[in-house]
Symmetry: C2
Amino acid sequence: MGVKRGRSERTTLVDVASRAGVSAITVSRVLREPEKVSSSLRQRILELIDDMGYVPDQAARALASRHNSTFGVLVPSLTNRAFISFMQGIEERVRDTHFRIQYANTHNSRDEEQRQVKLLMSQNTAGIILAGLEGVEAVNELVRRASCPVVQVVDVGLQTPGVGIAVDHSDAAAAAVRHMIACGYKRIGLVGGSLDERGRRRTDGYSRSMVQAGLYDPNLIHHENATPTTQMGCRLLRRLMRICPDVDAVFCENDDLALGVLFECQRLDKKVPDEFGICGYNDLDFASVTEPPLTTVRIPLFEMGFRAADALVRGVDGRPSEPNTINLGYELIERRTLRRPIGQQ
Amino acid sequence: MGVKRGRSERTTLVDVASRAGVSAITVSRVLREPEKVSSSLRQRILELIDDMGYVPDQAARALASRHNSTFGVLVPSLTNRAFISFMQGIEERVRDTHFRIQYANTHNSRDEEQRQVKLLMSQNTAGIILAGLEGVEAVNELVRRASCPVVQVVDVGLQTPGVGIAVDHSDAAAAAVRHMIACGYKRIGLVGGSLDERGRRRTDGYSRSMVQAGLYDPNLIHHENATPTTQMGCRLLRRLMRICPDVDAVFCENDDLALGVLFECQRLDKKVPDEFGICGYNDLDFASVTEPPLTTVRIPLFEMGFRAADALVRGVDGRPSEPNTINLGYELIERRTLRRPIGQQ
DNA sequence: CTGTTAGCGCTTTCAT
DNA sequence: ATGAAAGCGCTAACAG
């Protein structure tokens, strides 16, 4: 049988209508404004629709009504679990509405991003969520001209046309590193994946706190230009230890990296947290159950998605959200991969 | 500024055409068959398109041409990392084609699945990939009537209309458990997430091997009806040990579960693999770098996605793939969470 | 190489 | 409560 290539003509509204002996618009109403059709007629038409296997053509619908009930969501990567949580937040908000989600992936490329944004707009989407590659003027310009609500996930302090869902990554990282210093670690390394805007801001925060404490040393900073993975965490820790054998803790820009670092420490027989401290970022699902449980910075990924989608839903309803950027904050989750702060118990 | 709600009229093909002093079709051609337009004219129109910020309306395009260049992909969940790998395979194949991907999520519900399949079909998608909830006759019926290529990801042995990408989960699980038995483990538990078709088949495979060895005991089998997570792995191991304190190994239906089990063993100070054996499933990214590295069953998730998308791309091109189900196999990856098989070194 | 004429399948607007 | 007419923005099919 193979791949099916339908040649059969599709059942249309008119087909159903003529079979029912009514006009097309009536069938259309049955589907969209059932209360405007007498219940007996409605009943009959509904059955017919079912029998004939009629399914409305969304393209025609979108064209005629100039409405489209899908939201476009642009994320930089599918591999990064941070975005998965984010996407789940979006789904949760959108579930039980009539909206659909269309994901697109920029593969971390700015060109791709522009292309995709244009494409989403050309599809007359009901709304767009842009995550991950913030701060590009060309994209902002597109957003300004957009004919639908657009929500951008940005870093605090960045200008956005439209609604922004923000987190201060620089501040979050700085706070985490300050805490590590308070725990008595001195040679604190940084490991991270691709240096997108968020990564850069986290690195800034790290540097700020290290400089402030007089502990800064560029040799402690290690990046690899790709999506952060557990394997990368292992590699980066080994590299870090080779270059700075006296490193005594590491701030990971992502929990997946931290997981790799943790395993590598086990292999090297370094005791966590006494000999070596680890701090993650994002508070992903597994962070609470590693051994020892991972100290990390919780970023409200799920809520960010939820709020972003919420802004779209409201925006489309004609109740535009507040005219600006919503800062969702962060939280340091102290578990057991860092020593207790000095002076505390 | 708030959410933007565009009221501005959209630039259309006709707008561009009249400004250029040509007819609409010429502009249309510049976009789709540039070689059919003289290069000077083309040049001029291209600039105009850029200046005026014209972007084609996909709905109109789809309606007029009765073609749509998006593939619909239906997966049961976004949380399960197995599907993420699968999706990456799809993306890889589709990248550099003109096709776009639209994901939908069934949230593991059969009703949702039917609704979504109908919806995808109503959108006149160029092709559909169905993963995760195989074996539902109502869906198969829809697939048969589909007017576009449909690829289903199924378990070997299941009938599918259209192309099937298959893996024999029952066989894979049976082989893994047989191997565990060969390693000398006797009280081998099973932990798993939601019992979808694949889960059921894996459980079957486990049971088969256990019965064969005279080792079967239903008390060893533990499921929790949700997406498998690392946390769930921890919980399930604790439950298993409470009910069967003599359990000496566990087969996990997913690597995320195995990760939880591994950490829980560390907490309980059970030595892996000597005192306790662990076998995962899927060979996710982190499996090779845990400590000890995780023995697991590799399922070619990425390739499954790639091949599924490939079948669609070919099918749409009019070169339908082979008329049946492609079995992609599995592979037992021996690492260090199981003892060496008895008799081997 | 460029244009004309239809019409995709639906919804809008205005009647009845 | 139901319908007629018009048209959404684009492309197919055929001219020239």
